[in-house]
């Protein structure tokens, strides 16, 4: 809106009270003058009535005029005051208006006011600029002419005058964006907002339209959005790539870690191997297919007395020879040979096929082996000597005795009548002595053989052994009317022949040293935590406590030959046998009540006892 510039007239300050009271004052002065003119001609000596009347009349008129003049003055002052206020108000308004116009024209948004008929009533400079309409042209024109939008989003600028619905409820106040075409066809994008102007009662007075050019902004916005889209796309790509990268990185990292750990493990192993390689006392040689030494350890240097460089220049065949027995040995610097034990394995040595040979110095082993062989030899010799002795004892020593016995018997049988009583008696003594001598020799042999490791240990069922004992002694048992009770017995690791001899000795002793009418022998077993206890008990003559200490000594006898026959070797043999079986034998006895022989057998764990029941019981057990 354009306004004509008006210069306000400013009254001097002194004029205001003058203007206010001058007319009233002048009127009062006029009245006074009039009164004087009227009253002055009158005289007091002329008391004509009419004159009097006229005087009174003049007074009244005078008073009336006075009142009127006063009233006028007051009224005038009042009017003047109102006029001044109005003048002030107008001035204020104009000032305000100016300021409003200035403001309106200076704001960056286009502003248009539209009346209820949709005609432009006000347009600011910015709006003019944007629409290419001048204010003069625009005012009074319909809004849609001035504000020509391309978009269908035409703001609700016109309203039916009869519309009774308060416009507050309409969709004003929203900011919209649309393309605008100026009067000269310039297109740009505006963001506009319409505000309804509502009177106090809520009726629409018109519309205020504000708009601004956002082409640039839009452009920027679009660019921004495009940029954002681009950016977000890029971002997405980046993220994707980041993810890929991270995944790859992770994979790479893990690979790297794996590789690193593998490498470190490898290095560690290599170090270990090297330490091991260098640390062992055995000579280690690594050689290729042609036998060239590729590597060796410190022990190789030490054992051969050669420097590593020298060893590495040699071949395997130059270092390792064979002695006259074909046994491998290591050649040393002093032309000495060390007998060795060789273990070879193929390996890969720095990408080539190679062989690692472990050469163990077996000199100490050889020494021990030689010693062992020597002592074995000695043992074999002494065994052979013993065997020879046994054979000689068994055959050659017994032979003459047997002959003495045989021919004495022939004498007794065939020349019975040629001898007298004494001669026959002496011959009997001769036979008896020879028999006893043979018996002693046999027992010495038996004792020396007992406890020898003639046969390997095997599982023996003691029930079978005792059955054999019973069978072997049947005659003797029946003869003495004895009862032999055998309880269930275990199987033990042992030598069948020796065990038979052991139990046969004990049972026959129990029979022999028994003066009861019905000798009773009981064989039973107890299972202990780590051994078996097998007991042979009898009701025989028994022994004194001190006597029990001697009975296991060889050839120790408690009774005379006339009383109880024997050589006194039986229990010694028993003890030797039980010791060979890893057990013990003890005796508890009381004279007249009997004896209890306690044998222990270790309970060997391991394979289950496979008792060979079909084995024929050996009948070559010895009795005391």
């Amino acid at each position: 809106m354009a306004r004509k510039e008006t210069t306000a007239f400013v009254e001097p300050a002194w004029l205001a009270p003058l203007r206010k009271y001058l007319p009233g004052t002048l009127l009062i002065l006029l009245v006074i003058l009039l009164s004087v003119i009227l009253v002055l001609p009158l005289r007091t000596e002329d008391p004509a009535p009419w004159t009097q009347a006229r005087t009174w009349f003049a007074v009244v008129i005078y008073l009336a005029f006075m009142a009127m003049a006063g009233l006028f003055t007051i009224l005038h002052a009042r009017v003047e005051k109102a006029r001044l206020r109005h003048q002030e108000d107008t001035r204020q308004l104009e000032h305000l208006n100016d300021r409003f116009d200035a403001a309106l024209n200076h704001i960056a948004d286009g502003v248009m006011a539209v009346d209820r008929n949709g005609c432009v009533t006000l347009i600011n400079r910015k709006a003019c600029e944007l629409t290419d309409w001048s204010a003069e042209e625009a005012v009074g024109k319909p809004l849609k002419v001035v504000f020509c939008l391309q978009s269908v989003n035409v703001p609700p600028t016109t309203v039916d005058p009869d519309e009774t619905v308060p416009l507050k409820q309409l969709g004003f106040g929203r900011e919209l964006t649309a393309g605008l075409v100026s009067k000269f066809g310039v297109e740009f994008i505006v963001r506009y907002e319409t505000t309804a102007m509502i009177d106090r009662d809520g009726w629409l007075m018109g519309t205020m339209l504000t708009f601004r050019d956002v082409t640039e902004l839009q452009h920027i916005e679009e660019q921004r959005e495009a940029l954002i889209a681009e950016l977000s796309e890029a971002n997405r790509q980046l993220e994707k790539e980041m993810q890929n990268h991270q995944r790859a990185r992770r994979a790479a990292l893990s690979l790297l870690q794996d590789a690193q750990s593998a490498q470190s493990a490898l290095r560690e192993r290599e170090e270990h191997l090297r330490v091991l390689f260098e640390g062992v006392d055995d000579t280690l040689l690594v050689y290729d297919r042609e036998g060239r030494i590729l590597d060796c350890n410190t022990a190789a240097e030490h054992n051969t007395g050669l420097k590593r460089e020298v060893i590495l220049g040699k071949t395997y065949a130059e270092l390792v020879m064979h002695d006259e027995n074909g046994m491998p040995c290591l050649q040393t610097a002093e032309r000495r040979v060390i007998p060795v034990d060789i273990h070879s394995s193929s390996i890969r040595y720095h990408t080539q096929e190679a062989v690692i040979a472990v050469l163990r110095d077996i000199t100490p082993l050889k020494r021990v082996q030689d010693k062992l062989r020597e002592s074995n030899e000695r043992l074999r010799e002494s065994n052979a000597a013993l065997e020879e002795y046994a054979r000689v004892a068994s055959h050659d020593l017994q032979e003459p005795l047997r002959k003495i016995e045989s021919f004495s018997n022939i004498l007794l049988e065939d020349y019975h009548d040629a001898l007298d009583q004494d001669g026959r008696h002496y011959l009997h003594i001769l036979v008896k002595a020879a028999k006893r001598m043979r018996r002693l020799i046999k027992d010495v042999l038996a004792f020396s053989r007992a406890g020898s490791h003639e046969k390997p240990m095997e599982w023996i069922d003691l029930n079978d052994v005792l059955s054999a004992v019973r069978e072997n002694l049947t005659e003797h048992i029946e003869e003495k009317h004895a009862v032999l009770d055998i309880n269930v017995l275990p199987a033990v690791q042992g030598d069948q022949t020796q065990l038979l001899q052991l139990f046969q000795n004990l049972v026959s002793n129990a029979l022999k040293f028994n003066d009861k009418d019905a000798p009773r022998i009981l064989v039973y077993a107890h299972e202990r935590s780590d051994h078996w206890e097998v007991c042979v008990r009898d009701n025989g003559i028994g022994m004194k406590e001190w006597e029990t200490r001697y009975i296991f000594a060889p050839f120790k006898r408690l009774h005379g030959q006339e009383q109880y026959e024997g050589t006194g070797i039986g229990l010694a043999v028993c003890r030797k046998i039980i010791h060979r079986h890893g057990g013990t034998v003890t005796v508890e006895s009381e004279p007249g009540k009997g004896s209890l022989f306690r044998l222990t057998f270790p309970r060997t764990s391991g394979s289950s006892p496979q008792v060979e029941k079909d084995k024929e019981p050996d009948k070559h057990g010895e009795t005391v």
């Binding site: 054979r391 068994s394 055959h395 017994q398 032979e399 047997r402 002959k403 016995e405 045989s406 021919f407 022939i410 022949t497 070559h620």
Partner: protein, 149 residues
Amino acid sequence: MSKVTVDAIRILLIEDDEEDVLLTKRAMKKANIWNSVDVARNGQEALDYLHNKGAFEDASQYPKPGLILLDLSLPGIDGREVLERIWDKPEFKDIPIVVASTSDYEKDIEFGRAHGIQNYIIKPVEPDNVIEALGRIAQIKVILGNVLG
């Protein structure tokens, strides 16, 4: 008891000890075994006898024996070797062999068993053990049957 001689079954006694020969012969007589007994004094003689060699060339005079009574300990080629040499030969397969030895070693008895002997007598040879050992052999039983019959 009537005296029975069965010439077809001749006993070869391989024994170096003169006294033992005497004792064995006496024991056999006591046991009423009257078969003719030829004696070889050592292993070599025994092998010569069996193969009709040397002094024993005359097969009619020294026919294949019906039984061998063998001592294990002999000078030179001993009884064990004799046993080893003859036990699996087809021509001697049908000759029963009985060992008579002083040794009561399990080892020696095992050795005999392993070489197909019929019986093992632990010396001295006496009527009891000789009848027990020889009586178990079929041919001898026949003799005994004849004798007893």
